[in-house]
């Protein structure tokens, strides 16, 4: 039974948020000043239909919340908003204005470009339409990582090399979300050309974690995660080459899917390592991620990597659980909690080993650096962006790219050169073996459960290698991997867990994630 109550009443009714929240703490959320809460599930849990309000409330007073009984969430934020819009209860324009204000006032370095005019134009068009019922994302504010092209909008990849690049085309995935009614809020900050995992390498300055601005939000889709966590967007498009969407999602208490390779069109994604990366749906809950996936996935004539089909799989009700020996307590807890829920759902769980766990980052870095060196060769100082005052191409390129990116490019050129003794070919060979081994595992198991990261959000520059080790399997093997919050770390910040499925099994992974997420107490 659902009750429509205002925030304070909801808090009271649920009995879990005993905080004094000033109304003005909810700047940008007046449209959700009341929300639906379901009380009386027996555990005193608050089950909100509106995640923006709910999660913001959690974040605003997380210290208090974290000291209390676990609060479970069931969030359908995007579809709830869309429903309000097509029922005429809310205007897309008024929704997006509030999010735009939030975006402009953000102190987290979340955006490179706030798309005010574009957003208002699109929202106004939506409000004039009479068929919003057919738009599953009607009026839902969307933020977009700045390596995803939008026609007529500055797309920088957070690099000086593209500081003034305005594409004449839009990413297919983006266009599909817009066609479904989403309204773009802005282009989000990121690690330069998606190289980096802490949000610090952007030419436009670092992006901070809204849950604790002294910490990194993770990267490279830092701004996408920050926009969701700070509430300046409801859904976001990130990209994931080796955890770039899942790691920030884990550090900011969000859900993100790295889709099967080929499930999402890469048209309009400024590639860093094309064989590894996919555009990723990110949101505050798995249901929204699933909604985005259903809308945006599928064949695109402009991207040949989408010309694939996958076999329908038979399920055997077993899950493989990977917990490495040197795992942190937090990560172990995250996996174990998730597995407990799955067991309660009737799954049998077995421990498994992931292949080449010790070597995996070497394989990943060799391939991604090589491809980055190749993909970024086009920024030769003749066609795009910044030009050095010294006038020569070498200086232009050196001054265009930040040091971490330059290192990665040099690494890439090296592993492809004769001097490396065939490092790239060896990495490709290992990649094939990894794919094979994972395929074998998916013969035995419907899903694999692994940690997403060993720690909660860390300070800038702190190593994220352990998170990347868990993440890169999905990229190397082209399989879907979903993360959502599962546990709180030592500092009370959320930490995600990861579900991986066989190639093409995205919906199954998402469905399972939805079921688990609603029952995870974190």
């Amino acid at each position: 039974m659902k009750n429509r109550v205002n925030l304070t009443e909801a808090r009271m009714a649920a009995g879990c948020l005993k905080l004094d929240i000033e109304e003005n703490d909810f700047r940008g959320f007046s449209h959700v000043a009341d929300f639906t809460a379901e009380s009386g599930d027996g555990d005193g849990n608050l089950m909100c239909d509106d995640s923006c309000a709910a999660v913001s409330a959690f974040e605003l007073c997380r210290e208090e919340i974290f000291e209390r009984e676990p609060v479970s969430r069931r969030i359908t934020c995007a579809s709830k908003l869309a429903e309000d819009v097509y029922r005429g209860e809310k205007k897309a324009v008024s929704i997006v204005r509030e999010y735009l204000r939030q975006a402009k006032e953000s102190q987290n370095g979340t955006y490179i470009t706030v798309m005010e005019a574009e957003a208002e134009r699109i929202a106004e068009q939506l409000d004039r339409r009479t068929d919003c019922e057919s738009l599953p994302l009607a009026g839902v504010p969307l933020s977009v990582k700045d390596n995803i092209c939008i026609e007529g909008i500055l797309t920088t990849c957070a690099s000086r090399a593209l500081e003034d690049f305005v594409p004449t085309y839009s990413s297919t995935v983006y266009s599909r979300l817009i066609a479904a009614g989403a309204v773009p809020v802005g282009k989000t900050n990121m690690d330069e050309f998606a190289v980096g995992a802490d949000g610090s390498t952007s030419y436009f300055g670092p992006c901070r974690n809204p849950l604790d601005p002294s910490l990194s939000p993770g990267g490279s889709s830092s701004g996408s995660a920050a926009s969701l966590a700070e509430g300046s967007a409801v859904i976001s498009l990130g990209s994931d080459t080796g955890g770039s969407a899942r790691i920030p999602a884990s550090y900011c208490g969000l859900a993100a899917l790295k889709p099967t390779y080929g499930a999402f069109s890469r048209w309009g994604l400024v590639g860093m390592a094309p064989s590894l990366e996919q555009i990723c749906p990110m949101a505050r809950c798995v249901s929204d991620v699933r909604l985005m996936f259903e809308i945006a996935s599928g064949h695109d004539a402009r991207d040949m990597t989408t010309c694939v089909t996958w076999e329908k799989r038979r399920r055997n009700g077993r899950i493989g659980v990977f917990i490495p020996s040197e795992v942190s307590e937090t990560a172990r807890k995250a996996v174990e909690r998730c597995v407990a829920v799955l067991k309660a759902e009737g799954y049998e769980a077995d421990r498994v080993e992931l292949p080449f766990f010790d070597e995996i980052l070497g394989v990943y870095y060799t391939i991604s650096s090589a491809e980055a060196a190749s993909n970024l060769a086009r920024f030769d100082g003749l066609r795009y962006g910044y030009r050095s005052e010294k006038g020569d191409i070498l200086s232009t390129r050196n001054e265009s790219f930040g040091a971490p990116l330059r290192e990665r490019l040099a690494e890439g050129a090296y592993v492809l050169s004769e001097k490396s003794g065939g490092a790239y070919a060896r990495a490709l060979h290992m990649r094939e073996q990894i794919k094979e081994k994972l395929n074998e595992l998916f013969g035995d198991f419907d899903l694999l459960v692994t940690p997403m990261s060993d720690t909660e959000a860390a300070s800038f520059g702190e190593t994220v290698c352990t998170a990347e080790r868990y993440a890169v399997y999905a990229n190397l093997a082209g399989i879907p991997a979903l993360t959502f919050p599962a546990v709180r770390g030592e500092r009370g910040l959320p930490v995600g867990v990861q579900l991986m499925g066989a190639a093409g099994d995205d919906i199954f992974v998402l469905e399972t994630g939805e079921a688990v997420e609603g029952r995870l107490a974190w």
């Binding site: 890469r266 694939v308 920024f379």
Partner: protein, 471 residues
């Protein structure tokens, strides 16, 4: 030259042909030659960030056709790779090509040179994209990106050629095959067929290969021969004077007819090849190859043979099969006429020069009718030619031309008899000789009648009537 100072050249050729597709290899832009600079470009062929390539199936089909025309094996699985180098005409910083797994392998081209059959092996054919076009005006460099992404087939031969003449004959035959297969218009002056020639030298009789130099972008068959000879002389003289040949990339200077140093040849690793991650492996299955094979137009060697088999002279057959438009025209004539051999002769002498000049030409039926008139004995060969020429000039049928200009053979016995009498009257001495038994003198009378009839008297009839006259 076959050899120079005891050294012979060893030659391999790399030929780039632009495939005749309407769209580019990886985008939907027009692949047509020319146009305002950058007027046929899009984010894909300009290599703009985020623009992904999609293989044009027509480019793939024409590459398969090229492979089949050159007797290659078509690989079931082929893949694309990126070849990296920095040059202003290359917007992505790499070229999409097929390095590790090309589409076609192991073909051969057979041709005749000085009456001897030669075979040059084809090592591989791969599909790739063209780069833009650079032009220099003073110290200013301009880039036209229209050519970026135009599909190319790169045909790589084995080092099987041993003289400039052989290299020229090979490229000529290759060009002819590609034209007949319809894969490219092969215009060397427009760059739709471009040649790089690899030359090394070694003492005649030696089996050890020398160090090779690559001469880039030679734009006529004649220059291929010149470049090979120039390189043979340069490398031989270098070796004989105690120097060593370096692996180099050179260019041919059309004014000095010599080759010039361009750069040290890059090592393979310097191109830092990687798999093109944005294009999945290309599967070319047997059924598809067979469907392409079925559509392949007949190739020139086969068509030439067919013409020879119906009695047409070898040189004529070769000439007719030098260009598809000539062979196709003659095919139509052949179907219409009862005398293909005469038609071929008339075609070679009267029509081919006109077609070569690109001037308007008579319809094939006219040529067929003209040959038929000759075969039926209605005109002699001289009149046949004349009527064809008049037909070309006046746009009328050869029959009408023969009628109007009185070119038909004279078969009127009465008229011929009158002429014989006339000829006899003016050659009394000869008549006396004939009557005295000098039969050979009849020729003089026949010649006289021919003169009187402007060469139109039917020769056999005339000869019989002269015999009868003197009986």
């Amino acid at each position: 030259m076959v050899s120079y100072k005891g050294y012979e050249p060893v030659i391999g050729v790399e030929v780039h042909v632009e495939l005749r597709t309407s769209e580019k290899a990886f985008c939907r832009c027009s692949a047509e030659y020319g146009g305002d600079p950058d007027s046929k470009c899009c984010p894909v062929c300009l290599g703009m960030p985020g623009a992904t390539p999609s293989l044009n199936p027509e480019a793939h089909r024409l590459a398969v056709l090229t492979g089949l025309a050159l007797g290659c094996k078509i690989e079931r699985v082929s893949r694309f790779d990126r070849k990296h180098y920095f040059y202003p005409d290359l917007p992505k910083g790499y070229q999409i090509t097929q390095f590790y797994d090309p589409l076609c392998r192991d073909g051969a081209v057979t041709f005749e040179l000085d009456g001897v059959r030669r075979t040059v092996g084809i090592e591989r054919i791969h599909l790739e994209e063209d780069a833009g076009k650079l032009s220099y005006k003073g110290d200013k460099l301009s880039i036209d990106n229209n050519r970026c992404g135009v599909p190319l087939a790169e045909i790589v031969t084995r080092p099987h050629m041993r003289s400039a003449d052989e290299a020229m004959a090979f490229v000529d035959e290759l060009r002819r095959i590609l034209l007949f297969a319809g894969v490219s218009d092969c215009k060397m002056n427009e760059g739709s067929l471009r040649c790089d020639v690899n030359v090394s030298v070694r003492p005649v009789g030696s089996e050890t290969p020398g160090v090779r130099c690559e001469i880039k972008n030679i734009n006529s068959i004649n220059f291929i021969g010149r470049a090979v000879d120039a390189e043979l002389v340069r490398q031989t003289d270098l070796i004989l004077s105690g120097g060593t040949v370096e692996v180099q990339t050179r260019r041919f200077n059309e004014d000095t007819l010599k080759t010039e140093y361009m750069r040290k040849k890059e090592k393979t690793a310097d191109y830092r090849y990687i798999r093109e991650p944005e294009i999945p492996a290309v599967i070319t299955d047997e059924a598809y190859v067979e469907s392409v094979r079925r559509e392949m137009p007949p190739l020139p060697a086969k068509r030439e043979e067919e013409l020879r088999n119906i009695g047409i002279k070898a040189e004529s057959a070769k000439l007719i099969c030098s260009l598809p438009k000539l062979a196709d025209y003659f095919d139509l004539v052949k179907k219409e006429t009862s005398d293909a051999v005469t038609a071929a002769n008339l075609f070679v002498s009267e029509i081919i020069p006109v077609m070569r000049r690109g001037e308007p030409c008579v319809p094939p039926e006219y040529l067929a009718r003209c040959a038929d008139m000759f075969a039926a004995g209605d005109v002699n060969i001289v009149s046949a030619r004349t009527s064809l020429r008049l037909s070309l000039e006046e746009g009328i049928s050869p029959h009408t031309a023969a009628e109007r200009h009185g070119l038909f053979v004279l078969k009127d016995e009465g008229l011929i008899k009158e002429m014989i009498e006339k000829a006899c009257a003016s050659n009394e001495k000869t008549v006396a000789q004939i009557r005295a038994g000098k039969v050979s003198a009849k020729k003089v009378i026949i010649g006289g009648v021919m003169k009187l009839s402007s060469g139109r008297a039917e020769p056999r009839l005339l000869s019989r009537l002269v015999d009868e006259f003197f009986e």
